[in-house]
């Protein structure tokens, strides 16, 4: 204690020196972040607050008109609904399948590491590639999906052209695309679990299912919330695969908030409108991320 106090004044000055010396090292990253992150966000905010008819920033006439117009647009609310549907509809199967597959990946078998990497291939493949492959698979006349379903007696469908079905078809693609990543993270989490609680439960005579559900899952909760957070941030901003496969159609049935903003801004050249929609989306991402972070803190305290 005394030694620590004696050292404190002496370590103050190198500490201050280090802080001063750190500036040149930090400067490039800070300058680039201000230029590429902060400035565009402020600019987009300015555009969103400019009059709806404006094509550039109008600081002299700030108004909420654009937000009000957007709130009156049924397509905007449909895009909110589609966004949330894709989020929940994709997240749940990804977590459930990811935990199951993660358990398999966590088993030590010869060559397991290479098999694991093979499983991960879809998640590190470009959205364009995924979109192209699934466009071919889903093709109503020559697609292999209808052929395989035909083998078990399900009639051919237009998977992407039917407004009632298109979102579910896109969800299936996203589950295929990202479940491997969820599984890999869960597998790493399982390998890091302590052995004692499992041994104790076995000694007490619990069966495998009881051990998995009562001990494994609760211990995994922090890992699962991290994965949910990662997927939430990406799913709420759903754009790439959907835009590539359907451009938001048919009849806006697969237009998410992100696709809505892109089309407003670049097809209809309503920059303020697009910015307003993006800010609404950003707010939604931050809200859900904050909620999940709070959940994670709690689950870590509990564990």
């Amino acid at each position: 204690m005394a030694a620590g106090r004696a050292r404190a004044p002496r370590s103050m000055s190198p500490e201050r020196r280090r802080r001063r010396e750190s500036w040149p090292l930090l400067f490039p990253a800070i300058a680039l972040s201000l230029l590429l992150v902060v400035f565009p966000i402020l600019y987009a905010l300015g555009l969103a607050l400019s009059p709806t008819s404006a094509t550039s920033l109008r600081f002299d006439q700030l108004t909420f008109e654009t937000f009000r117009t957007m709130a009156a647009d049924p397509v905007f609310w449909s895009s909110v609904r589609v966004t949330l549907l894709i989020y929940v509809g994709s997240l749940i199967p990804q977590l459930v399948l990811g935990i199951g597959i993660g358990y398999v990946l966590s088993r030590e078998v010869p060559g397991g590491r290479y098999l694991q990497t093979l499983v991960l291939v879809p998640s590190l493949t470009a959205a364009v590639v995924v979109g192209l492959v699934w466009l071919l698979i889903y093709d109503p006349t020559l697609g292999v999906f209808n052929y395989l379903l035909g083998l078990v007696g399900i009639p051919a469908q237009d998977w992407l052209g039917d407004p009632d079905r298109v979102v579910w078809s896109l969800i299936l693609v996203d589950v295929w695309h990202w479940t491997p990543l969820v599984a890999l993270i869960v597998a790493a989490g399982i390998r890091n679990l302590p052995a004692e609680p499992f041994e104790a439960a076995r000694v007490d005579g619990a069966n495998s299912w009881q051990i998995a559900l009562r001990i494994g899952l609760p211990l995994l909760r922090p890992v699962i919330t991290v994965v949910a957070l990662l997927r939430t941030v990406d799913l709420i901003r759903y754009f790439d695969t959907g835009y590539i496969m359907t451009q938001g159609g048919p009849l806006n049935a697969s237009t998410t908030m992100n696709i809505y903003a892109y089309r407003k801004a670049f097809d209809e050249l309503q920059l303020g409108f697009g910015s307003a929609a993006q800010l609404a989306l950003f707010a939604l991402v931050l809200l859900l991320a904050a909620a999940l972070t709070w959940l994670r803190r709690r689950s870590e305290l509990g564990a």
Partner: protein
């Protein structure tokens, strides 16, 4: 003893069986793509697909000869490589300072970049780029695309490298500082060489994500600077699809990232969760 061993042999067999099912589902479409890239639309469009049709590399030859695909491949390499390099140059010293001085509040900036939707950046960047003539000019457009992809690579490099710098023993750096080294010299001569594996991981993961990213080039590239993903997307708009050619393009886009995935496999989990875990 023997029952325990046979049970573990059953467990291993079951694990392999489960792997077989999982791989069939997740690699099936990828293998189908690879097969399709070696065939004409006739064989692909047959129901069931004509698996006995002879394979050829015509689709690949065609892409590079009549579609100038080599150029788009080069564009992708410039954009992903350039943004990865700049991300490391700016990100590594920043990550070092954050790790040493505990400047967690500073890394909030990088979380914002990770969470904000891409179109939010694209609208202002495109507006400014049009005004300064960075859409039509070829060299300026390359600079623009590399810079914009930093929105992806810079946060990733910073987040990936923080834990590597944190794991460098503090005593070594303190000894150097007592010997009169400035922070910049300590970083360059001591910390940086010790985190070489981290630099490699950050480079690979940044490259994969920059390579795969689609939106910025969709909104900003011109006809000469456009990278492969956007070109492949533009093929879809033509109407009548040349499925064999599209699958060949898809294979070429997917091949480098797949190879890199195997190179970096041991670090991927840590890399992909960086940012969320902290």
């Amino acid at each position: 003893m023997s029952s325990a061993r046979s049970r573990s042999r059953v467990a291993i067999a079951l694990t392999y069986l489960a792997y077989a099912v999982i791989l069939a589902v997740f690699l099936g479409p990828v293998l189908f793509m690879a097969w399709g890239s070696l065939h004409g639309t006739g064989a692909i469009a047959a129901s069931p697909p004509d698996l006995t049709a002879p394979a050829s590399v015509d689709n690949y030859v065609n892409l590079f000869q009549s579609m100038e695909f080599g150029r788009y491949l080069g564009n992708s390499i410039i954009i992903a490589g350039g943004s990865t390099l700049l991300g490391l140059i700016a990100g590594a010293p920043a990550a070092y300072c954050i790790a040493r001085l505990g400047l967690k509040s500073l890394s909030i900036l990088t979380i914002v970049a990770r969470m904000a939707p891409g179109v939010l950046f694209l609208i202002p960047v495109r507006t400014v780029a049009i005004r300064v003539g960075a859409i039509d000019s070829i060299p300026l457009n390359y600079v623009l695309l590399v810079l914009v992809h930093l929105i992806i690579t810079l946060p990733m490099c910073i987040w990936l490298l923080i834990p590597f710098f944190e794991s460098v023993p503090r005593a070594i750096e303190e000894a150097a500082e007592i010997d009169g080294c400035s922070m910049r010299r300590t970083f360059l001569t001591i910390a940086l060489p010790m985190v070489r594996p981290g630099i490699a991981v950050a480079a690979v993961i940044s490259f994969i994500f920059s390579w795969n990213y689609f939106l910025f080039a969709l909104g900003l590239a011109n006809a000469d600077t456009v990278p492969m993903p956007v070109i492949a997307f533009n093929f879809i708009g033509v109407g009548q699809y040349d499925w064999g050619g599209l699958m060949a393009a898809a294979v070429i886009i997917a091949a480098p990232t797949t190879v890199l995935t195997f190179v970096a496999q041991r670090f991927l989990v840590r890399g992909l969760t960086a940012g969320a875990v902290k």
